[in-house]
């Protein structure tokens, strides 16, 4: 067995071979699926805790404060303490709610994000499912999350929740279009929807550089639309604290609230990963076509760190948005999507098709 931090393919094949050699194939499959599930659960916990801490620190930095600084050095254990507190909170039963749907909603939201993260390439060979429709699959499963939000809002039997859910639904349904179309723009350039092939196609330069103008327009649109799709500020009017207390999750407490909270942060992580993968090359190191020595030097940094670094930069951008811009009104939000982003996006697709057709990309 060779464990290689640059290429996990041989490591995965070693696990696969050992399991299938020693066990009947049915049990080997079950164990493999369990292993991947546990790995993703751990990843969720770690990333969730880290992102909450990062958000508080970034927010503090932008607002000229210190942020969490008491629990552990620089307050790094603050979110763990918060999480323990959240787990020990009472789960308040709601009398006049539709209990079945009320309890089901957080699970739908978190399952949708769980299904989406499975398709993301974390590194060479570090990829749970690699469909030939990769990007389309991510779009399909992430569109399920809105159902959970709508159900949560309705079944709480609370006016704030219902208004929050309606806003959130209108927002996600319309911005999904822009997210999808900006992805389609990049699919035209890549010539494939398979995420591993999209990463592989960026071996001689990331798409944001090789696709120049249309790729950059698509990146900006993707960033705006995906921020809106994850219900984050300045598009957070689904949970606008000053008007709706907390929007669709007003009535949730304890672990169920934690589910919504975690799903929101993980969705942010997922869209940042997708942005990093289709625009900035995913785990592909910074390569410039023809510069062999430079490319070789860049290869020394392991792919996982490239991927993580790019994703964290996109996440930082999204946090920057949240703490800089004021919240939009619902009519401004819909106007931005239908009157500006969508026409620009459709024009951009034609531009990209022209660029690819004429070979004007690098």
């Amino acid at each position: 067995m060779t464990f290689n931090i640059y290429d996990f393919t041989s490591f995965n094949q070693w696990i696969d071979k050992t399991l299938y050699d020693n066990l009947p194939s049915f049990w080997a499959l079950i164990i493999e699926m369990t292993l991947i599930g546990v790995a993703f659960l751990l990843f969720y916990a770690v990333i969730g805790l880290f992102l909450v801490y990062a958000e508080r620190k970034v927010c503090a930095f932008i607002q000229n404060r210190v942020g969490p600084n008491r629990v552990g050095p620089y307050g790094i254990f603050q979110t763990i303490a918060d999480f323990i507190k959240l787990l020990m909170k009472e789960i308040i039963p709601i009398n006049n709610a539709d209990k079945f749907l009320f309890n089901l909603a957080p699970f739908i939201v978190i399952i949708a994000s769980f299904m989406a993260i499975a398709a993301i390439p974390f590194g060479k060979g570090l990829h749970a499912i690699d469909f030939n429709i990769g990007i389309f699959y991510v779009m399909a499963v992430s569109s399920l999350g809105v159902v959970g939000i709508l159900l949560a809002g309705w079944s709480s039997n609370n006016k704030y929740s219902l208004i929050g859910a309606m806003r959130s639904g209108a927002q996600i349904v319309s911005y999904e279009l822009s997210v999808g179309l900006s992805m389609v723009t990049m699919v035209i350039l890549a010539g494939s929807m398979q995420l591993s092939e999209i990463v592989e196609a960026q071996r001689n330069g990331w798409f944001i550089f090789t696709g120049h103008i249309p790729a950059f327009i698509a990146f900006v649109i993707f960033l705006i639309a995906s921020t809106a799709e994850t219900n984050r500020g300045p598009f957070d009017l689904a949970e606008a604290e000053s008007e709706l207390t907390a929007g669709f999750h007003t009535e949730y407490s304890g672990i169920k609230f934690a589910f919504f909270f975690l799903a929101e942060y993980m969705n942010m992580f997922i869209v940042a990963s997708i942005a990093a993968t289709i625009f900035w090359g995913g785990w592909m190191p910074l390569h410039i076509g023809g510069w062999v020595g430079f490319n070789h030097a860049m290869d020394f940094i392991p792919p996982f760190f490239w991927y993580m670094g790019k994703t964290l930069i996109v996440i930082f951008l999204m946090m920057w948005f949240k703490w800089t811009f004021p919240r939009l009104r619902i009519d401004q939000l819909l106007k931005l999507e239908w009157k500006y982003l969508l026409p620009i996006n459709l024009f951009n697709i034609i531009l990209m098709a022209l660029v690819v057709l004429m070979g004007w990309h690098f």
Binding site: A140, S143, V146, L151, W154, M166
Partner: protein, 170 residues
Amino acid sequence: MSGNQIMFVIFSAIILIFSILTVTSRRILRAATFLLIVLISTAAMYFMLNYQFLAAVQLTLYAGGIVVLIIFSILLTSHIDEKFETPALMKKVYAAIAAIMGAVLVCTTLLNYTFTQGNDAAKDVNMNLIGNSLISWGEQGYALPFELISILLLAAMIAAIVVAKKVKTK
């Protein structure tokens, strides 16, 4: 039983149980949620058949599109306390007879047909092939149906705008 068969049994059980729950539930949003579960399980069946494209289409169109629309309209129109009345006994009997007759018809057709196992290797679903045949007007092209659907959608969209448009009162 192989793993594939076990998965098939689980998904078909989910589809059957939740289809029945969809029509018997007396709360409308619960019925919509059960319908969602049925549609997702159908997508899972397509995934089992290695036809990921159709599965993703099923998820986006039915689960992510149509069910969301249904839920939206329920959210706007119905209150949480509303429950459907249980239908009269005779209606139940008629419905049961119709359902059983349909089931018998489908079952007899399926059982009378002899399925022959093909020897062809499983074909890979190539996305480029799907995309090309959608816009080609050659032998196996779908350009005409594709364009017809676009016109239909355009007509529906214009109709929706006309219906939703406010009439200016002078």
